[in-house]
Assembly symmetry: C2
Homo-oligomer: 122 residues x 2
Amino acid sequence: MNPLPPVELKAKLARIAQPWTPRVIAELNDYQVKLVKLQGEFVWHTHDDTDELFLVIDGEMEIAFRDGAVRIRPGELYVVPRGREHITRSAGGCEAMIIEPRGVRNTGNAGGALTAPQDAWI
Amino acid sequence: MNPLPPVELKAKLARIAQPWTPRVIAELNDYQVKLVKLQGEFVWHTHDDTDELFLVIDGEMEIAFRDGAVRIRPGELYVVPRGREHITRSAGGCEAMIIEPRGVRNTGNAGGALTAPQDAWI
């Protein structure tokens, strides 16, 4: 069989209309690579069982913890350690890649209205 | 404790002098995020037990399989499936991010002179 084509991040991002709706673009063993648009503020939450990787593609985002915050710009990545309560925000809008194990709920222990469906591929 | 700063990919890449020497920049659970410079041709090899993710940051690379090849450009990613023999190449030079489980040997089942040390952080 011929190899699959590469995944173009910007082309995939162009197909995401709404903020806070992560979409799966690839799998790596039992991990999923997702793209998400951020606009405004998410919810405070914790992933007790897993770290979570963010890589900013365009725009800027902030990851705030209870004791400080980091600003992440294009070409920068950040790993939120498991068990660390955090919230993501972007006043001006942001496009980011997320990598985490399959099955992780985006709102972690918080749940609520911003909880996204699993396995939504684009 | 205050949060760690984000990891700037280009700043880290500037500290890598030689091609085919992957350097660890972050960990995500039992996975490692690495940066590597490619120049010329690597070796044919297989990772029997794991997929391997490539994201091109700058330049272009080719991943060739025995039955075809893909060209990967900046902002594009590719997951090489486990068990699939492949070789990476870049005639003009390339900077890429790799994500794979901790402990994966870069030359897979092939070994040889291009085998890189584990856990070399920058």
